[in-house]
Amino acid sequence: MASQVKRAEIIFAPYSEYPYKILGEALKKSPDEIIEALIQSGLRGRGGAGFPTGLKWKFAKEAQGDEKYVVCNADEGEPGTFKDRDILVKVPRKMLSGMGICAHVIGAKKGFIYLRAEYDYLKEALQKEIDFFHQHCEKYGLDFHVEIKSGAGAYVVGEETALLNSAEGKRGEPRNKPPFPVTEGYLNKPTVVNNVETFVNAMMVCRIGAEEFAKYGMRGQKGSKLFSIAGDTTKPGVYELELGLTVEELVNEFGDGNTKAVQVGGVSGFCVPRAKFKDKTIGFPGKDDVNYIPTGGSIMLFNHTRSMYHVLENYLEFFEEESCGQCTPCRVGTQQLLKGIKAIKKGEKDPEYLDTLYKLAETMKVTSKCGLGQSVANSFCSIVDEFKEEIIY
């Protein structure tokens, strides 16, 4: 019998206790204690990059600054991702508690949720929750104020430093790193930027303990993860699964019986062809481990009726519009990749031109300023590797 995905119930676990009780309890713990628990739990950021959350908070706590900020990244712009939306709708209190705990740990008095413009319709309900949250902060003696900052339609603003620029009222162009946000973030003050789901997880670590949290996860991965399942699937939606499952397990559960390829991690992630379903595990890679694919949770399934050329073209159109445009490899590279595959398809360029494009994608990966340009090669190379014929002919 084929192995199966394991459902987990951390994030959406029924949560019958008084909503902000855990927050109150956590605030009694010392910041170091909480950081230690987070490190023990092995929790890594759920926004895609997977930076250890305990360490991030630790750096921000140690950073010098009269003011500090807690920022919740609810820009969720990665195509195929919609799990933060479900958190914002279903368990916003857990997320807010996580932010409150973070404020306590690093010593922040202010925070904001950067909510993408596409989710403006969630704003009103969320603001009500925030008001309720503030009441509890007051009750627990936590001097912490959260506001919503609305986006205005730009995928790249999900990148944390671009998000900070945008929140400062500027163009959402990513900054150079270093300095990192934990030392120079919002208004150049020490800032923690975490994904919506990460805050929920941090809060849950405080609730169920690091040990219990770390029990979830397979193949060395820690915790559960929300997956946004879409495309050619019989049951699209948001699922909480244990981290460390293989693509095969996923396809068995969610495929429509005809799955040809799976895009893991959105358009900036990797395309896995049928032949490799078995080998690829979803989770954070150790050093040089090519068989682990990290993801912010986007899973898109493609069945045999789909043209991978068309898929790639759609991705590249997305990138050439959504690049911030400041750095050369990404701004020009995305245009060249798109124009290039079109030209090959039309026969205006030789099939060998694909090698030039491949080399270009690899250059973008190592020279682009931020994660957007760096990750274009992920989908480009993985699709070209596996579906070369479809791209050319």
Binding site: E321, S323, Q326, T328, P329, R331, Q335, Q336, T367
Partner: protein, 591 residues
Amino acid sequence: MITLKINNTQVEVPEGTTILEAAKKIGVEIPTLCHHEDLCVAGNCRVCVVEIKGRPRLEASCATPAENGMEVFTHSAKVRNARNVITQLLLSEHAEECTLCYKNGNCELQNLAEEYYHDDEMFIDLAHEREHRIDKSTALRYDPSKCIRCQRCVRTCAEIQGVNALSAAFKGKDMMITTFMEKTFGEVVCTNCGQCVVHCPTGALTERTYYDEIWEAIEDPDKHVVVNTAPSVRVALGEPFGLEPGTIVTGQMAAALRRLGFDSVLDTDFAADLTIIEEGNEFIQRLKKKFVDGEEVALPMITSCSPGWVKFIEHMYPDLLDHLSTCKSPQQMFGALAKTYYAEKKGIDPAKIVSVSIMPCTAKKFEANRPEMKSSGYQDIDAGLTTRELAKMIKQAGIDLTKLPEEDFDSIMGESSGAGVIFGATGGVMEAALRTVYEIITGREVPFRHLDIQPVRGLDGVKEATIKFENCKSEYSFLEGAEVKVAVAHGLRNARKIMDQIKEGKSPYLFVEIMACPGGCIGGGGQPIPTNDEIRMKRIEAIYREDAGKPIRKSHENPEIKQVYEEFLKKPLGEKSHKLLHTHYTKRNRY
């Protein structure tokens, strides 16, 4: 201190040094485009990427601090391949028309393309499919098809000038560099200072050139073409001919102008001396009005010789225009006299005179074309060329500047004092004015060693000095014992500091010199490229050398100045002066 290895060579640098700077220290040149010493780090062109052992990605050396134990490779195969691809990408969105480009031969992109030469286009041409509108304003020219979006101009306008007339706009493939709503430079808050031009690595931003018209005038036998050259041109013109920055080429320049066919080779420095007489007297008059007559008068008085600065205050502080001296800039004083006094003396019909000035400046083009600058009855200055344009003309004429003999300026209006010369450096106008004002008031020389007023010299953004007047002549007894505070600012961001103080009513100064460009005119928007602090310092030193070597160092002692008052103007601030040498200003939009 930090120790790292670059291309296997050990190097020690202070903490905070970038890899780029560390490499420079051991003579390793990493190509750059978006980086400029004057500006903050952008890290967006990515041509400066280097390999760091243990890191999978290449890092931008201009934006990455050196770390202890780092092993850096600046030109490994991986780096060269990447740099090659990036260069080809830049070229693919760039309208390469070097033979039609003003920057041909002095272009950082061209240099890079030369280094990474390809016999064929690697990528699809993106440049020529776009529609491009070339902005040709009076002073500047912007061709977006040559722009590599390095944002050096944007940072210049924001960080050095505090004007923010430029911004990146849109994103992704549509990202571009533009003014507000893609308007022309003439329609927005731009001061025409040309600092963005000096900082642009390509031919995207240049001055608008006028030398073709000048050639035509020179060839026209009916026209009498007079030329005047600003103080800072003579210490920079050598650079395009391969001479070291700071080489003084005054004599060769005069010789070259003569060989180009100008009918009369004169000196803006003469007009600078004249400015000092008028402005010095205006200052004393303002003091008298204030302290003796008890009149409302705007103090501090601020110099008005820098047209970039003048346009800046017209936009940004329209309510404080009273503070500007009403004196025209030397260029415009020269122009007004050329078609009156000079024409009279030489017996030439002013309608036939074409008056050209060679300036370190792009804003001078705009100034020459101001509608009010027609007090001679004609357009006072017909064209203002930059130092760079003059260098082009000299090359077009097949002249090797370095091989020319030293010649003198013609007369009249060709004689100047050292005070006129130092107009070219920040602090120079103030120093020149004080040399004269102090003497008018006390009858003695300004009490500084060799007349060198050191506190107002150098590259500090805002400089201050205090001059105490003692034993004044009887008519100036109201100044007895007065300690007059003066200030000097260069770069418009620094000007803002002074202006905001004035706006708040907290300015401690009575007299202020402001120049739009960092370093003053020697760092002007029309000067040879590159310009950076090291080069600015060398040009400044040359200016002061030239001053020190002059037999006459005070404006009021210039014999031609005495002559022009005797024969023509009669007296400072007199009726003729008022008509020809003074002007008024226009309030402009702030945003």
